[in-house]
Symmetry: C2
């Protein structure tokens, strides 16, 4: 018996780490969806995306400053935050740059590399709208600038409507305290919105009339269109799905036979209502089964029984959400968006199953 | 960044280990509910209860034998098990001996010691009924004897009706492989039934006309009534609830003020429909809020806003499930069951809040 458990030494699936600069701890690590089950991502395998390393914060000294266009500026300790009524819900979190190379054709060979900046966990915290009753927002407060306590003081501007709708100050994840790489001891959680806006190691909320135009909302996390103009503040992660098994790098026993096709679907606009699977390169589509309960703003696990005939096949999934949005093909997506950007890429991802059972990206 | 994450060094909550015999790894470790959030128990803090240690099993060589009153006996490898259509769902798991001392008045000082043999995780596996189509049950098969690969070959007899209803062969927990202490690589999962029947390290299923009358269903996990007769095969865990915060051993700031009362409720008979909280020693009761979604056979998180007046108070919760069953008081329970046993104890647990803010068991 162990006071805090560990996995079996036979289990070796890991996050794939990609350091982006010479600055230690700056880059990403990706969730190994090809090896995972169900809808909950283990906290130890939740994706990471850091811009200035991971600060080691003592929760006993951590403070959240709330100031700017408020009647009563306030400093909250972690004990203060935990005194508020709490709230728990399962939400997906996806980096705005998930699959960023796929749009321009720099495709990745496996689902971890292509879709690994997505995870889904049960978060616990307090409604930010409730906390803000303590400070009193002035009518001219239209934006909230959320700043983290990482070395670079990463900051994003959030419209007041989202702040007052469903934003959370989160301190719990999958039942225990947030992990350091998820913002310990406190992060902002904006359900359905691009990961970067969910500011980690949250230590300051400033209410303003205008956005900050910070580096991460101007130089990064903007979308350069076909006409050379960039869209900024593209917050919502739109509907997408991907087959996680069989997926790139895996190998089926050759000769055909029964295989379950399974994967994940999610949308920042509410609930996934339908996932379809094609096993013939996109000519015919049939409904997959969604694992109940399908939760709003969480990943849905889909499953599709496939009797493989042993011949080469292209398998893929597409989803529909409650707004009626149907996940586009790659060609449909670039016809609208062009090739200049790559944030918020959400096209269908086909996998090639060869006669020898190997699975590769198309 | 780390390939497999760990929690902050400031987070130190742990399972409490109780070794029951001189045999290493035999005993229990309990989930620290006083420190946890939401409904998902982290796998690292899921309770343990072992009767003969934790075997270290290589999944590449593990086999499940299905035999007895079947048409086609079968040996399945883990690869075979994973080829079947999969299924994921969040279920609570509770040891039949959770709170075993409370019935006779041997009360525990905190919720971890009194209620820590309960946890709740998302399980993934395959429907056992589906697997059994491959072997073909004979009509005279009325019981399934499930045996684990631990040193003692722990075995339990399961009625065929439960086997064919919702029993699962489980290999995934909270998104990744089962932890060793939860039966890696394969366990039986019987939703809502006492933990001991959910046989870990599962390596044999024998179908029989009669139960095995194994040690753990005769000498243990039976309930000795007031008349000196023992009930056996009391499988279902009935409805219960407990306040996890504030709970024994915790301390509120003295002087009163707002505190959220929160806890867990669960029932082996389906859904929790209502949780009530009393802050006056059981005279008045008011409805708590249940965190949505409330899932069948999973824990429900309840919350109740409490403006403490700073005076001594006795706080407690009681739940109702979809069968209409209302959780009893300690006195009501022992009036029916007497004091000889202690398995399946599910009475209301009151906590005393003193004027100095300390919380103790009543």
């Amino acid at each position: 018996m162990r006071a805090y458990g560990e996995r079996s030494p036979y289990e070796t699936t890991e996050r794939v780490i990609r350091e982006l600069t010479a600055s230690p701890g700056t880059g990403s690590s990706r969730t190994p969806h090809q090896d995972l089950f169900g809808t909950i991502t283990p906290s130890a395998l939740h994706f990471e995306r850091h811009h200035s390393g991971v600060p080691g914060i003592d929760p006993a000294t951590h403070e959240l400053l709330i100031h700017g266009l408020v009647d009563r500026p306030l400093v909250l300790t972690m004990d203060d935050v935990r005194r508020f009524p709490s709230f728990s819900r399962t939400y997906f979190l996806e980096c705005g740059g998930n699959s960023i190379g796929e749009q321009s054709g720099n495709t990745q060979p496996d689902v971890q590399k292509s879709h690994g900046l997505l995870s889904c966990t049960e978060w616990t915290g307090v409604s930010l709208a409730l906390v803000l009753r303590e400070v009193g927002l002035k009518p001219e407060a239209k934006w909230m600038i959320a700043e983290g306590a990482d070395a670079g003081r990463m900051a994003r501007s959030i419209p007041i409507e989202k702040v007052l709708d469903d934003a959370l100050l989160v301190y719990g994840q999958n039942g225990e305290a947030l992990r350091p790489e998820q913002g310990y001891p406190l992060r902002l959680l904006l359900p359905g919105w691009e990961g970067n806006t969910n500011v980690k190691w949250l230590h300051r909320l400033q209410f303003t009339a205008e956005p900050a135009m910070s580096a991460k909302e101007t130089a990064y996390y903007t979308e350069l269109g076909k006409d050379g103009k960039a869209q900024i503040f593209t917050f919502v992660m739109e509907a997408r799905s991907v087959i996680t098994r069989p997926s790139g790098g895996q190998r089926l026993a050759p000769g055909g036979g029964f295989h379950e096709i399974t994967g994940l679907a999610w949308t920042g606009k509410g609930k996934i209502t339908r996932v379809e699977v094609s096993v013939d390169g996109g000519k015919a589509w049939a409904d997959a089964v969604l694992q109940e309960p399908v939760l709003s703003l969480a990943v849905a696990r889909f499953r599709f029984p496939w009797m493989w005939d042993g011949k080469p096949a292209v398998i893929q999934s597409r989803c529909t959400d409650e707004t009626g949005f149907l996940q586009p093909t790659h060609d449909e997506l670039i016809a609208v968006r062009g090739l200049n950007s790559g944030y918020h890429y959400n096209a269908i991802k086909p996998w090639q199953v060869s006669a020898d059972g190997s699975v590769t990206h198309v």
